[in-house]
Subunit: 130 residues, 2 copies
DNA sequence: AATTATTAGTCAGTTAAACTGACTACAATA
DNA sequence: TATTGTAGTCAGTTTAACTGACTAATAATT
């Protein structure tokens, strides 16, 4: 397998499989890009700029993503006490469930892959990193 | 770092760094997506369908990518003897140079990363895969 | 041998997910 | 107080994929 794909392929697959599961379980209104939001959100809430930085995308892009997730009921928007420009986003109860469920799914997939059971093998990557 | 990013982040960085280098060295007319072409091309040449399958994209998308690279002088188009529907693409001398240089760059970056010297650390991923 | 199904590739249009640039409102600094 | 910087939004663009419909050629089936 080609070098860059050793990294990008499992990433792509993880997202695909995650969103298949999420859809089945009724978590609607989400697209792969939204994973970067809830995966990077701090317990106490996060700002858009902060999320953008962590996710490695622009604040403009992140702005749209959080807006979607707010509308879908996964996030709630709060005022930042002390900075009236800023907005804080926190997970709703629905969002918390989503996060927990997602983490579980992802861990399961990787565990399977490591045992050479799943649809993908991490062996070549492991060798590269040795 | 977030789970999916442990895979996608190095992939993204590798591509960015590779294309910075390539641009400096005068390999123009290329965008990140084109890496999937020359990285997957067989020595004896490859078909569009075959390349698409390896790269994990549709033949329609791959069709455009090889067209670009042909125009930029990295690939040459040949008839497939024995199947008049099919087209074979082979690297030109320029394309060969590109491939060799790219591989070298990518290997160098990863080697640096493994020694914890570069702009990124592979340690967290290594731990995950253990 | 003729028909049917499959495969290789292209054309056209669409979608997802990012980007840049310009802007407003507020905060921090000189 | 005036200037510079930061948080976020709006608008438009670009990159890189996608699906669907099609032609031409090959392979399979009857």
């Amino acid at each position: 397998m080609e070098l860059i794909s050793l990294f990008s392929e499992p990433a792509r697959l993880l997202i695909t499989l995650l969103f298949e599961e999420l859809k089945i379980k009724g978590y609607t209104g989400l697209k792969p890009a939204h994973a970067q939001v809830f995966q990077n959100l701090e317990k106490e809430g996060s700002r858009i700029t902060e999320l953008a930085l962590k996710a490695g995308i622009t604040k403009q892009s992140m702005s749209l993503l959080v807006y979607d997730m707010e509308n879908a009921g996964y996030l709630k928007r709060y005022k930042d006490k002390g900075d009236n420009r800023a907005v804080i986003f926190r997970l709703t109860a629905k969002g918390e469930k989503l996060l927990k469920f997602s983490d579980q799914i992802l861990r399961n997939i990787i565990t399977k892959w490591k045992k050479e059971q799943g649809e993908y093998s991490l062996n070549e990557l492991k060798v590269l990193l040795k």
